[in-house]
Symmetry: C2
Subunit: 105 residues, 2 copies
């Protein structure tokens, strides 16, 4: 059976807790936990040394209440933004595919 | 291997397109597509006849730009809110479990 939306939500909740609970506080990701999560889950996004600053900058941008940590709601805002980008990319690819196909006729 | 965050994001994007593209416009869920998606993905949430109004009300609440349809970003806001509720429920359960365990000592 294909994975459902509740399955996908459970993965997001579980992964947050896997990293957030490392310091004993399961409510938020501290700087180390956030870096560890990003490197493990999105290994190709921040690969080179320049991008170490990228993770730091990303964390500052996401930390909307300026608590110094990423809480669950900030983490979900991040994932929702990533999904929007993936979706736009997919729509563009579909459009390109359709344009290509319509030119054939 | 456990599912990753990119896997979970792909499920969300795929399911949106599965339902949104039924009317030929893959950019948003119309009323029928939204109902079909909710009933298929969350079958126990809106089960009885009173809740048919619930789906309608939910759709109006989510449709923040009042376009009459749910676009991808509104869909992600919905999923993010659901995830926050699931997470709070999980944290409460963990707390209950810890309290129960600490009373044993």
């Amino acid at each position: 059976m294909s994975p459902t939306l509740p399955d996908a939500l459970a993965v997001m909740v579980d992964i947050f807790h896997e990293y957030a609970s490392k310091d004993g506080n399961a409510h938020s990701l501290n700087k180390g936990e956030f870096k560890e999560m990003i490197n493990a889950q999105f290994p190709h996004v921040f690969e080179n040394s320049t991008d170490k600053e990228g993770i730091q900058k990303l964390m500052i941008d996401l930390d909307s209440d300026k608590s110094g940590e990423i809480d669950f709601s900030e983490y979900m805002t991040f994932l929702a933004s990533l999904a929007v980008v993936c979706n736009e990319y997919l729509l563009e690819s579909m459009k390109g595919f359709q344009d290509k196909n319509s030119r054939k006729h």
